[in-house]
Amino acid sequence: MDQQSQLNIWLASIANKDPQAFRSLYDATSPNLFGFLLRILIKRELAEEALQESFVSIWNNANSYRPHLSAPMTWMTTIVRNKAFDLLRRQDATVEMDNDSFDQDLLNTMESTALTPNDNLQLTQDAQALARCFTKLEGMQKQAIVLAYYHDTSHSDIASQLTLPVGTVKTWIRRGLERLRVCLTSAERA
């Protein structure tokens, strides 16, 4: 059975309050989700809090998961990302971040994934396709999308970080996303 079907079955069991399925789902997905949270929140105790809150939400809302509309990991990642941003907004002090070097690391990983797909067996097909389609974007577009996705950065903050006018940033992101959509849609059909 492929990973996605397995996650689907666990989620269906969790909707019926099956604690064993919940443990299995946690073991299978928490390393990815915790890695993601650490990158957003940097501080371990914040990432742990967000992970715990996310899994409480997964347990309580598994019955509203809609398998015909989204993959299990897509659904869980959305929950985790929302929790992380909620937690960030609740913090009085801003989290110390070194966005530049982290985002550059991430973009480098994506680039090497696109170049040598066989070396990245733990990445899903979807992530590999996304990495390939990212190569079709301009450098600034990639940075802007990663800033917004990982750091909840607004158009105007992206503009000041990249020292570009806001209007330009908006247009670039919009075109970048459209190019991604076209690329990913044609990759699906291929």
Binding site: N16, P31, L33, L51, A129, L130, Y150
Partner: protein
């Protein structure tokens, strides 16, 4: 400006919503539209599917064990086990989500069956069916077709996909009422068709769901419900 009829604007807003760059009043307006549009909902989910794999590039980190222990305490996981088996059938029957998905599948299947019946040459020794059900597995693939002949009180069960069932196991068909325990309708042929007597209760209004479970050779040792895993589920459709 009608967003819902403008595909490129819809895509643009759904993408900005998922990415998080759609903010303030524009975001709230979008959320109002989203709540009333299945199309927009599907667009948003598609964008989540496209962008969320970005999370994978953060790399994996195993969380410390105490996160799980806190979850276990907070959700009282060790205490829920026994209670679950008791209410499992009730939960299936009442799960709104389950019915939504099933309704879509079943009506499509029923439409196909009507066409099949209409196209069957007249005079063929075909039972006069009044109810049909298509039972699907957890991936929504049809596995078993049931035709209830209310006039002659017969139930025909046809396995559509060959099942791998061990020689000491059997497939058992259940009618699960909205209240009370599941009632067995009999054991199924592992492949091909089988005709079974159709009791009155099998097609009544109170039957919420039909299910097939994997059981020991002579059926579930528990007369009030399956002992093994449920493989297929479905619901009656009136013809």
């Amino acid at each position: 400006m009608n967003i819902l009829n403008n595909r490129s604007l819809r895509e643009q807003l759904a993408a900005a919503y998922v990415l998080g760059t759609l903010r303030g009043a524009a975001r709230r307006r979008f959320e109002t539209l989203l709540a009333g549009s299945a199309q927009l909902d599907a667009d948003v989910e598609a964008w989540r599917g496209r962008l969320n794999p970005l999370a994978e590039f953060a790399g994996q980190q195993t969380p410390p064990e105490h996160v799980w222990q806190q979850l276990e305490r907070q959700l009282n996981l060790s205490g829920t086990d026994r209670q679950r088996t008791k209410s499992f059938w009730r939960e299936i029957a009442e799960s709104l989500n389950f019915w939504r998905g099933l309704g879509l599948i079943s009506s499509a299947v029923a439409a196909v069956l009507v066409v099949m019946l209409v196209m069957k040459p007249a005079g063929d020794a075909m039972p006069a069916p009044s109810m049909v059900a298509m039972l699907v597995n957890d991936k929504a693939q049809p596995n078993l077709m049931l035709v209830a002949d209310l006039k002659h009180h017969r139930l025909t069960a046809k396995i559509l996909a060959t099942q791998t069932v061990a020689s000491d196991q059997s497939l058992q068909l259940w009618a699960i009422p909205k209240r009370g325990s599941p009632k067995s309708l009999g054991l199924l042929a592992k492949n091909g068709s089988i005709s079974l007597p159709l009791p009155e209760y099998a097609t009544g209004q109170e039957i919420a769901v039909l299910a097939v479970s994997l059981e020991p050779l002579h059926g579930s040792p528990d007369p009030n419900g399956p002992s093994g895993p449920v493989l297929f589920t479905g619901a009656w459709q009136q013809i």
